[in-house]
Amino acid sequence: MDDEAGPIVRPYALTKGRTRPSGAMLDLLALVTATGEAAGSPEQEAILRLARSPISVADVAADLDLPVGVVRVLLADMRDQGLISVTSQAGPRPSERVLKEVINGLRAL
């Protein structure tokens, strides 16, 4: 296949042309967890498989090799359908304790 020519199917064909997700914008780091089983498309099935344990929106997009914008629309639909739950990880600034834990964790790598 000629990768240079780009995808054969335009990315937003998967979302029926919609470029904006329903509801609130999903943060790249929000965690997605599967809560349902009946998927309506191969992409939904793939997302449910990935989200058996919590996975970030960015990881879903990277693993499916789909643009983030497309994945956001798909995930918002699945949230509306009760197939997944979404937990925000964007909270207040991290505590000193957490940052010290990160420094120690990096040293131990």
Partner: protein
Amino acid sequence: MDSALSEDPVALKILIAGGFGVGKTTLVGSISEIKPLKTEEILSDRGIGVDDLDGVEGKTTTTVAMDFGRITIREGLVVYLFGTPGQERFWFMWDELSYGALGAVVIADTRRLTDCFPSIDYFEQRGTPFVVAVNCFDGEASHSVEDVKIALDLEDHVPVLLCDVRKRSSAKEVMIALVEHSLRTLATAP
């Protein structure tokens, strides 16, 4: 019940910035499992002048690839690395990326020092803590940290490190320096 597990998961975001070809991908790959992350973006006005769109007038979006890496500190505590797109016309994406970011690593190449000016300006304006990592491609420092600090007109508190982004140990030192710097910034913030 284990108190560590009952806490909400914490995700930290660190940006890796710098000019084109300066070693952003290499740095992310040295310290984390790297994956390409695609975004389908609407071309900015700036991009329209730059891209040759003759004959493809219908094209209004373009795919931008970023480097994306993840370091798991422990269950429920993950550091995500995002390599910011180098070209200035994709800067509209930086606002989302830098929202809530713990800090940024600006990689500099002393042979093309001006390439990292825009990144430094951006993080200074947003008040995002950052460190400058001078990538020594040949393993030898051709300039001292002080020279670089003066050339970049950096404030005194901004850490500058010499590094070799290909080496995991060196990449680790850079990341640790950034988190320590963020910690200090956090402590002095109002």
